[in-house]
Symmetry: D2
Subunit: 457 residues, 4 copies
């Protein structure tokens, strides 16, 4: 029997059930739903709506239902529209009519929002750990390879030499922002809607702050109409998840590129590579292609949540049921992906020699211009002069450092052999010792700071 | 064992398998995969790559694998990365080493695209039937209620009277465009990629046109690099599906609104309504809220497919595996939804009396202006004059038709009692007998045309 | 001349310029660009890279350029690729070769990110004021209409009576979350990238913390590779803007609906309504339709920013130029919209009588069930009993309160006349005095809390 | 004066005008609007609603307004809400009260849809030419470089050798699908809504088919409610544009990659490269980065149009005004981009020597497995054997072709020196002479077919 059939002539049509029932995906809220109901039963007792004995009957019944779910023994029936109905139905079978008191003053509208928030709060803790794990893998790797110098790219063209570790740490900082943003997401998720009823508020004198604190919420919602339909926390979480995913995707893009034969900077461990059904020689970085590819679904999940609320009148509307699948999938994806990426990063081989061989001396052109700046040439002019030297070298098929001294001096007197002697990839790197720069000292400072932050996580 | 482990040191890590294996969702391609392999075995034989006996072994083995899938007896193993691997592995167990010949010249890259296209072609036929079913329900309902006049809305404000049937048929035409668009989607899906190998083309002289025609494709792809990575047909299908969904959503929006107490034009059958866990009196149009809500996921699926291909280098990339879940979900959603919506439309109650009561006489203002046009007043001036009459009536708290004749004539001499006598909701409707207009004759013409088109479907 | 032509054989093609130049839209960064350059000139001086006199020449030149922009006298030339080039070019014309020193150690990569952040920080303050203005309008209106009781809706069906003010305040709280989120957006926007150079860090010993504090940033970026390509702050702002817009859109949806003839709860002032070119009687709520419609562009802007970064290698890529148009449009839209919506809300007419007339006695069914709960009936059973009463009433074409006492008592003995006498819309509202509920006391408490928060804004 | 102020107390508020007026962007519909009005004037005359003289006055007035727009002499006033209002207002100033007759039976609802379709039909022709131009550039380049063999990639790992021309042509075929899809887009755009009035149909006996044919439409809409709100053609166009853009983006991605120092296969002409403000040596492929980046806005425009219609009730709603900016921007982007990309492709330098040097002998592994297949080894076994050879070679740090004969024969007797002698990149390419394969003959066949199709464009 449905929860609500009293005033209906007919049972719901079968197609309608298939279309509308959410148990196939919201069963995973069972722990949150039961935790919420336990707290609610206690609140009903505190408000003197049920005696102690009934509260205890409800609690022990709920624990048994939970155990059935956990052990895989729970059997759904055709009237279990959703996890809330399923739990209430089973509770009734186990404890009898007292089960019918549990929904006093509560609506599925405030219940489902409470459950989803509770579920998400638990998962946010898991995902935070995943971020810390990946950040740690990046910092470890960065510390291990502090000696590797590589081409730094802009527009995918070699730009200036950088430390490989500096590149690795650039992802540490992206993820650090994600951890920072997580604080806000968690804070706004941890607002308890329970006690809002269907939309007008619960008519019984429950203490919502006690409820909140028992369930681990930070505060209670302040307006029942808002509370039952607010899905901002889903949207905010999905926006957060999309940003995390794009950070992973950016890492993936670089690795896929650098693992090509043409770049050759990195090699994935065989345990994290895959082969081809046709071509015997292939070793493919599928894992990072999928990480990149999954940015599509994460952006789409966010789109879905945003579009879902667009055009809705206020108050609860059934459309909101569509919040769950994107949210669950985003959680699952990140929960699996973060440790996986950590392992792949930790196990990949870095080929510092290939990096060195790949470096274009042209990357020192800025340093040469800076050298002229040191001799009083305004930077913009120095830039043009060095540009002319680069062009001249290209015409002769050589690098700037191979130009004849006379050739160089004809461009500017200060461009003598001293100028060239001061240039090297390592020197270029070490000159950038400003905060956030690529010099070894700056990178070490980043590592220290990262370790400090991670140790507080 | 994987299909490709020959040159690897280690087996794939477990997390990688969980992250990358697609069997959990692509198993549903089994029929398409086996059909494709049967046709491929025949092609290998025709190209004299395998003898007749081996072809027949392969065919009968494949049929047994299919039967195992169909009957639910297929047991996946941990190395079954995807449906293609699973089928090939099981075939090998059943028929021995000859199974190893099936992949001659074929890659999973051309195989998976072939399978997905084949699967989709089958589903397009089902969805087309679903569209025809819904169109028929709309036309039937329109024919049944030809006498119902209702307010027509723009900006959700009453604008001009229309036939309820005209409104119903407006959805017929939206879906008609969907059916038209389907032709193009089907045409471009029905291009066979098989024979493209991994990306360079199959090195054996298969007759791809025979393959195409055996599998029901209309033509063969013309460039192997394009063929293995082209997902245009997925994108195009998902764009199509999103448009269909938005049409259903638009219908849903109107019905949700018109089923309110305030409008009261329609009532859903109890079998297609749902109740509240808290409020005993509620009957909610969940079905149409979900239809509206599901436009979010359909837009998101399209977004997902578009974003997936963004930024990819050409040739096959693993990211493309992400094409399947959105496509499958879009198919499932529409496959369930189209017959469901048809039934809800067919079973809903139309309250023509409420429509009549709801109508604002102000909706005849345009007719009054047109009356002045008939008396030589330029329309723009007529519009202003009637606007003034409307304002005057509002000041007096009456409708224009209740204004004193003197009052009206003071605005324009032609606005005498004749003007008002010519006005009625029914007359207003019937004056719009232009092609596509709301007059009964025009609506009947639409119904006839619709019947003719549907009979050819 | 371009900034960078030294090593090039040819000038850029004209089509390329049209396609790539950003001055047509990034001119609006001029204030931020010049502020950034002034601070940079000061930093160059502090680092002893330029003498005081040159710093002052640069500063006064930059002020003159700014004045030309502000007064509309700035003339772009065909080589002004972007605002940075334009300012530097004009500065050179005004102050001569010393202008060429301004770019020492700076790249457009760190410059543009600095400019965009600075611009956004300024606009965030404006938008925050806009939010406060709208919140104030909502609270004022709520206080003014505390006596209006209206139907509360779920699934757009009448559910339970609520105060109109409670509905108004539900939007206050949505916007309050937006203000809260703004803190995080601002915090992460206020990280200074300047000093990161092209990607490797500035090779000169600038004090980035002084730079940050002069420009109003809270901190400095910690990794130059990350800093030049990080667009998280744009994405986060656009996600924020989309959420704000969806809140406005939700308000709009309700108002559009309630301004219909059928609902009739609200009427927009003529100054905020629009008419029809054809239909003289029409008054349309265009403003709120546009607010709703603009949620499309705001969601799309966010999509755009997310997709932009998808698939990019790390370091600066030109794709990032595409961040600006969505960001500017989102700012413009909200900057105009927030005060406009405030005015429309403040000026609209509330029709409390129509609300009262519209109310369905069925909305008291939950209260009746609660009454039974008070008499010891478990809620679930009470729900079914009242459901049966509702059904019986519907069969007889009356409301539950019109059922004969015998009829009611036959359903449950406690359903006597006392039960019905206790029921009223007002009583239903006032019973929900829980925190966040719709009772007058709870709504007053919300108003007080809102006033307190707004007074601190 | 507005078109519709008759029944209003107040003029529209200034902020409302800024927010709602569309002239700032829809002015570009002026040609379409005036063409539509000219045809409409003729239709009014044919229906005997205006005499010949008035028709001619209207026509000559409209021509003058058009001339003012074209020459930049048109002066908008503060009441010009949109292009339709502006034209009608100016027409009135030029020809007097007869201008007021032009809107007889017409609404801005059917007018704006007609205008937008007319505008789009014109632009579709331009874009089709752009596609043909780019396809021609690709085919020309392919024909020119038929001798260049390059690595073919999957997963960005070298997979099998292919002709560079085969790669170029892969984009020809993507664009060919775009041209094919354009036929459907055009067909559905070319349905005339004019005559639908505000939503109920025009009450005057216009011959809509004559109107359609005068304006170049293929047919007329069949339901006025549908016609005034149908934006399917916008969505379909934007979906089309997004697919085109993603094809260009895919080309861009490859070129950006292949123009790196590490790949080095291609070099952009200086006229289509850009430099760095800081680094004198840089030559960046900005043009293709922007092409890739603009896929973000094109996906977003589609999202915007889809979200715009989501949740709308049927009939015209003001939200629909938001259709224009995305559509205009998509048109502008492609209109500029297609010829630009054509020129960049035509002018880029192909470095066939670098391609050759880059090729990994491992790419012949499949050919070696195929060789074993020719000796009776089932393909799957051959794949594993060659995989083992690849692994053995890697252990020894050589390529498979450098393995000692004994080593190879120990893996399989048939893997003798004959096997290796048959292997070469060129031979591998030429074996793939199947339809759509990479062999020179197949590529020539593609070129021929492409030329034939282009000559019919």
């Amino acid at each position: 029997m449905t929860l609500w059939g009293g005033c209906f002539d007919k049972a719901p049509d079968n197609l309608l059930r298939q279309f509308g029932d959410s148990l196939p995906f919201d069963w995973r809220l069972y722990e949150a739903d039961i935790a919420g109901s336990c707290a609610y039963a206690a609140a009903l007792h505190r408000a003197e709506l049920i005696p102690l004995a009934e509260r205890d009957e409800l609690l022990s019944g709920l624990r048994r239902v939970e155990e059935e779910f956990r052990s895989g023994q729970f059997s759904p029936t055709s009237t279990d529209e959703d996890i809330h109905t399923a739990v209430e139905r089973r509770l009734g079978e186990l404890v009898g009519p007292v089960a019918g008191k549990l929904h006093t003053g509560r609506s599925r509208n405030d219940q489902v929002s409470t459950d989803l928030r509770l579920y998400l709060l638990g998962k946010l803790a898991v995902l935070e750990k995943g971020l810390v794990g990946l950040q740690t893998a990046l910092v470890d790797k960065a510390e291990e390879h502090l000696d590797a110098v590589m081409p730094g790219y802009t527009h995918l063209q070699q730009a200036q030499p950088v430390l490989f570790s500096h590149w690795l740490l650039s992802f540490y900082w992206k993820l650090e922002r994600d951890r920072e943003r997580l604080v806000g997401v968690r804070h706004r998720t941890a607002t308890l809607p329970l006690g809002s009823g269907a939309l007008a508020g619960c008519p019984f004198p429950l203490d919502r702050h006690v409820l909140a604190s028992e369930l681990g919420f930070q505060t209670v919602s302040q307006n029942s109409i808002d509370a039952v339909s607010d899905r901002d926390f889903c949207i905010e979480f999905l926006a957060w998840a999309a940003q995390v995913q794009l950070h992973l995707s950016s890492l993936a893009e670089d690795v896929v590129l650098w693992a090509t034969r043409e770049f050759g900077f990195l090699r994935l461990d065989d345990a994290y590579s895959t082969g081809s059904s046709l071509m015997p020689q292939k070793k493919n970085p599928d894992v990072f292609e999928l990480v990149r590819g999954k940015s599509a679904r994460m952006i789409a999940h966010l789109t879905s949540a945003l579009v879902m609320v667009k055009g809705l009148p206020s108050g609860y509307n059934k459309d909101l049921q569509e919040d769950k699948e994107p949210l669950f999938d985003a959680v699952d994806t990140l929960e699996l992906e973060l440790p996986l990426v950590s392992q792949v990063i930790a196990s990949m081989t870095v080929n510092a020699d290939r990096m060195l061989v790949a470096m274009d001396p042209g990357m020192l052109a800025t340093d040469l211009a800076d050298y002229l700046v040191g001799r009083g040439v305004p930077f913009r002019e120095a830039h043009h002069l060095v540009g002319r030297a680069v062009k001249r070298a290209a015409e002769l098929g050589v690098s700037v450092s191979q130009l004849a001294p006379a050739e160089l001096e004809s461009i500017h007197p200060a461009l003598g052999s001293n100028a060239l002697q001061s240039l090297s990839f390592r020197a270029s790197v070490e000159r950038r010792s400003i905060e956030g720069g690529t010099a070894t000292s700056s990178v070490r400072a980043q590592i220290e700071q990262a370790r400090r932050r991670l140790s507080q996580a």
